[in-house]
């Protein structure tokens, strides 16, 4: 539904987006991840036709945004960063304006506005000026606006930024509810959000795509993937660490101390599962285990490793 072809954007000598290409199909919720200033918003502004790319283009449902902007924009619902809306208007007037621009009038406009108002749960604030609404409601009005014409492609720039945990939960529920019929891109720097709503993630930094895969695939790149967390009494004993480290296929054994308590983290070589070996060893030595858990891998490790390329890849777990 959405195809990004070699997008490039430079501002003077600054290369903000550097040859970004990807496609998003129906049913996909793509998490667009990256540190601040990575070029996420700039990319979205080019896809939605707000900024003209220096090179490359985006094709939305077969319409090139550069050559046929009006046709392409009809298929897009866009929530710009910060969910801007006219502060003097009420959500009812604002949505009515959007409905008319989107080509709906009369009862059809009314029906669509009522539908999104119920879906996004803004019915009770429809007649208050937008400037008097809370952040959560403003953000919802922005989403309602993007959803009014039931677009095939939705582009949401930080849809949960600044919302409280309940509002975030609500927003994610809304996104999940509509994912099947649409191609959705969400930019965020919250990794929990990617795990909660996205079935695909792209990591960008300095304008380049550095990783592309499902959240689970990305997490697999983590050195913590299939690591085993062992908690037991007397784990400061160097013999225990040595025994664990002597097992085949073990890359390192680290002692960690975090809010969950003290534990040994056994990192396998190449992400191979090692829990069976560790369990056997524990039985053999008669250790009294308090806990044994396989880690899936941490998206934030992967994110940090990928986006901070060139910086020191120091021992993360020990410091944590």
């Amino acid at each position: 539904m959405l195809e990004i072809r070699h997008l490039v954007k430079s501002f003077g000598s600054l290369l903000a987006v550097d040859d970004v290409s990807f496609t998003v199909s129906q049913g996909e919720v793509l998490g667009f991840l990256g540190p601040n200033g990575a070029g996420k918003s700039t990319t979205m502004k080019m896809i939605t036709g707000f900024l003209a790319p220096t090179a490359g283009t985006a094709v939305i449902c077969g319409h090139d945004i550069g050559a046929h902007p009006i046709a392409a924009k009809r298929h897009i619902g866009y929530l710009p960063e910060g969910a801007p809306a006219y502060p003097d208007m009420t959500p009812a007037d604002f949505l009515d304006f959007i409905a008319h621009i989107r080509g709906f009038a009369g009862s059809e406009a009314k029906r669509r506005i009522a539908r999104v108002a119920e879906m996004i749960r803004i019915a009770d604030v429809m007649h208050q000026p937008i400037e008097t609404l809370s952040k959560g409601y403003k953000r919802r009005v922005g989403v309602a606006q993007a959803l009014l014409h039931d677009p095939d492609v939705m582009i949401l720039d930080e849809p949960t930024d600044g919302l409280d945990p309940n509002q975030k939960y609500e927003m994610r529920k809304i996104i999940t509810a509509m994912r099947l019929q649409k191609a959705i891109i969400i930019s965020t720097h919250l990794l929990e959000e990617v795990e909660a709503v996205c079935n695909r993630a792209i990591i960008v930094a300095r304008g380049r795509v550095l990783a592309d895969g499902t959240p689970a695939e990305l997490a697999r790149r983590s050195r913590h993937h299939n690591a085993v967390r062992v908690s037991m009494a007397g784990l400061a004993d160097p013999n225990i660490r040595a025994d664990l480290a002597a097992l085949p296929g073990i890359a390192a054994v680290e002692q960690v101390s975090d809010p969950e308590g003290d534990a040994l983290l056994v990192l396998p070589r190449g992400g191979r599962p090692v829990i069976a070996e560790i369990a056997d060893l524990a039985r053999e030595r008669g250790w009294t285990l308090a806990g044994l858990r396989v880690e899936r891998g941490r998206l934030d490790d992967v994110f940090r490793e990928i986006t901070a390329a060139g910086a020191e890849p120091g021992p993360v777990a020990a410091a944590a």
């Binding site: 707000f50 924009k73 801007p84 809306a85 304006f97 621009i101 080509g103």
Partner: protein, 244 residues
């Protein structure tokens, strides 16, 4: 065309949802009254016409029209709504024209609300209502030209105060272009065709020509071309500056 109408409607109601519309209309009517009756010696002249009323319009507009145009684009850029607005399926020309027409229509409403002056003068004597109608048209055309200049300036800045001041300065120069204030700067060193050309660009000259009661094609074309030229520049500037 339908989009122009939708944008026009939103913008026009936008004036009335804030106090701006009411403050503007009250101040405009009050100033017009004071200038006409006290400074313009409306009664002492002993003539049944609205000339003292219209004579002050250019100078009144220099101060007041920028207040209408300053928000057109600067506010959209400041609040970020421009990103929403320009990613809707509309053409830039539709956006520019819709906004301009709303401001121009609002100026028309303010002008129309001066009808008590017209009633007064008809009550007191037998004025030439053709001349008065022509003068209203002249005044509205001049307001349109000033609004187009203002819309263009509003596209360059996020700051409405800057938009106001720069627009006021520009339309003052345009209004006074035929007077010695502006021409004095050029006289002596500039070639005569240039001084002559600048004098021809004066809002005031074309305005006064129509207020004499004759709507000359050249004056009409003049105001309409100013409007079109500045709206064209407006569209280009919005495109250039929108992302800053």
């Amino acid at each position: 065309m339908r989009n122009v109408l939708t944008i026009f409607r939103r913008e026009l109601t936008g004036y009335f949802t804030t106090p701006l519309a009411y403050v503007f209309i009250v101040i405009f009517l009050a100033l017009a009254g004071i200038l006409t009756f006290f400074v313009g010696n409306f009664f002492e002249r002993g003539q049944a016409d609205l000339q003292p009323f219209f004579n002050f319009h250019p100078w009144l507009f220099v101060v007041l029209i920028p207040a209408l145009s300053m928000r057109l684009w600067a506010e959209e850029r400041k609040s970020g709504t421009i990103e929403l607005f320009l990613t809707l399926p509309i053409r830039m020309t539709e956006a520019v024209i819709g906004k301009f027409l709303a401001a121009w229509c609002f100026a028309g409403i303010a002008l129309a609300l001066t009808f008590p002056f017209w009633i007064t003068v008809n009550f007191l004597g037998q004025p030439d209502n053709g001349v008065i109608l022509a003068s209203y048209i002249a005044s509205w055309l001049m307001a349109g030209a000033m609004l187009a200049v203002g819309a263009c300036v509003s596209a360059i800045t996020k700051n409405q105060v800057i938009a106001f001041v720069v627009t006021a300065a520009l339309v003052f120069v345009f209004t006074a272009a035929g007077s010695s204030i502006v021409l004095g700067v050029f006289e002596g060193w500039a070639p005569e065709w240039l001084t002559h050309g600048i004098a021809q660009m004066s809002f005031l000259g074309h305005f006064s020509a129509i207020t004499r009661g004759v709507i000359d094609m050249r004056d009409l074309v003049y105001f309409l071309s100013i409007i079109i030229a500045f709206l064209g520049a407006n569209a280009i500037l919005v495109d250039l500056k929108k992302a800053e």
